[in-house]
Symmetry: C2
Subunit: 315 residues, 2 copies
């Protein structure tokens, strides 16, 4: 199923880039060849390929020196994820590609990432604008979980994104139920999941994450990391942090700790909300989230409703 030759290529290039960056000066082809255990011709071919992808590498009798790296989410720029990542300059939708991979038997942890999408999808078949400069990725998971608990996976992913943004940039990222990430009340990230499941077991769930990063966002109610910071950031650093946080949070999938993390970051709790679900509208105060990922709303008649899915509006 997995293309092993491709995976070795990713690992070799990650090692070459690491060695060049560590040295900050020329590294000879011979040294690279020895460190990687591949021929000098192979080293040269990798160097040439990196050049074609936008890296600028000085070549001299002393060896190779890295002078510029493009801001692309290439597998060999995502430490720890070199083998799992499938990178596309442009794709229909990372969700569609991840689905094709899942159906073909791809394993837990595969990440599909694209610089831009021609048919990016949001929730409820809404379009997800996907110009270059954002992060558009889908993570394939095969958790041992009943599908009824799938809302927890979305909570987990939104917690991971908010934590990564806070940790790297100190921005006050918050969560809007069910699974948006906001900064200053504006949406910076949307999450969409797609699964195939039996009554008691998820076969696969693809978690799609779209983050507005280095692009100025004009839609009302939306924002981007760069709009908030006033400068562009390293997308590969942010994506690596998000993937690390997901690995971390995934251990919490079946534990209440996940809910505590969500509560801490929530912009929805203690707010008056209106939720559209089942063609019904429910208004009240969001008082808690339950173990199933349902938002607990106290309605006007003082009754409590546990709502598992729906569109939420902060009032």
């Amino acid at each position: 199923m997995v293309n092993h030759i491709l995976l070795m290529v990713n690992i070799h290039r990650a090692k070459i880039l690491k060695a060049l960056r560590a040295r900050g000066d020329y590294v000879s082809g011979e040294v690279l060849s020895k460190e990687l255990g591949i021929s000098r011709v192979s080293v040269w071919k990798h160097i040439r390929s990196l050049g074609q992808q936008g890296y600028v590498l000085d070549s001299s009798p002393r060896g190779y020196r890295l002078t510029f790296a493009p801001d692309l989410l290439l597998p060999y720029e995502l430490p720890g994820w070199e083998q799992e990542t499938r990178h596309f300059q442009e794709i229909d939708s990372t969700m569609d590609e991840a689905r094709r991979l899942a159906k073909a038997g791809a394993g837990e942890g595969v990440v599909v990432v694209a610089e831009s999408q021609t048919h990016g999808r949001g929730r409820l078949s809404r379009e997800w604008s996907s110009p270059r400069g954002g992060i558009y990725c889908t993570l394939l998971l095969r958790p041992q979980l009943a599908p009824a608990y799938a809302p927890r996976i979305n909570l987990m992913a939104s917690v991971a994104v908010a934590r990564a943004i806070r940790r790297l940039f100190g921005l006050p990222a918050e969560l809007k139920w069910p699974n948006d990430v906001l900064i200053g009340g504006r949406k910076v990230c949307g999450i969409l999941s797609e699964m195939e499941a039996e009554t008691d077991a998820i076969k696969y769930v693809n978690v799609g994450i779209g983050i507005n990063v280095n692009s100025s966002v004009s839609q009302s109610g939306a924002t981007s990391v760069s709009d908030q910071l006033g400068r562009n950031i390293s997308r590969k650093e942010l994506l690596t942090a998000v993937l690390e946080e997901i690995s971390e949070q995934q251990r919490l999938l079946t534990r209440v700790d996940l809910l505590d993390e969500w509560r801490k970051l929530s912009a929805t709790l203690n707010r008056n909300v209106r939720i559209a679900a089942f063609g019904e509208e429910i208004e009240g105060k969001a008082v808690d989230i339950d173990a199933n990922g349902a938002l607990v709303v106290r309605c006007r008649d003082n009754s409590l409703r546990n709502i598992l899915a729906g569109d939420c509006f902060h009032l």
Copy 2:
């Protein structure tokens, strides 16, 4: 997508059988030909095919007379479902066939039914014994529902089966959470569902129903309709009733009425139960079911747990 020629065949044969049964005597080929608006040669071909399938039809100068009908779940024996039913003498699994059909775009309401299965599946990849004499079917639904509410679909199907068994045979069928049907504390029917879904929308859900009908069941904890009644029953009558009940109950999918139906038929409520979920064991008294299909259990420390999925043992 749909094979229209096959569907017309089913409707013609249903009409022929109906005419022969209504008359209870010979019906001429000419009358059948006029009633169906097809040639006498076509009528003769249908009669011959029915004969090959086990029907016994007297043929005389006065026409055709039906003297025996096999107990098979053929589409033309399921009034109202002639066009939706795909019948197999033997199949790997009706779930697998329904999945193939769903992926190929088959619409809401298609029923895959088999006289026996070589790889019948139960929950959690358990084998489902599928000898001739039982009912093994999968119903393809495309409800407008978030996947988080999928447990309600299983509740709905179990309510439908229990109601059909009660209505036709007066047997005290009850429900064991999450979706077994019991008679006298023994399992007579299991339900398995499989779905493909996005965060907010189910693409399709296949509901598999396996009923022990005209077979003596020796496993402890299991029973069959014939074991309970002391005689064999008409499987096509039972399947038709189940499908009718599902059509009826489906309107309740998003309404609390469904939960009231489930409560009325429940063998689990007010019982001490042990539930294995998430590798965790929860013991307590089952006190209610919530709007999401979760069983509400009062634990020993008096706390309430809403459990969406798991294996339930009545203590």
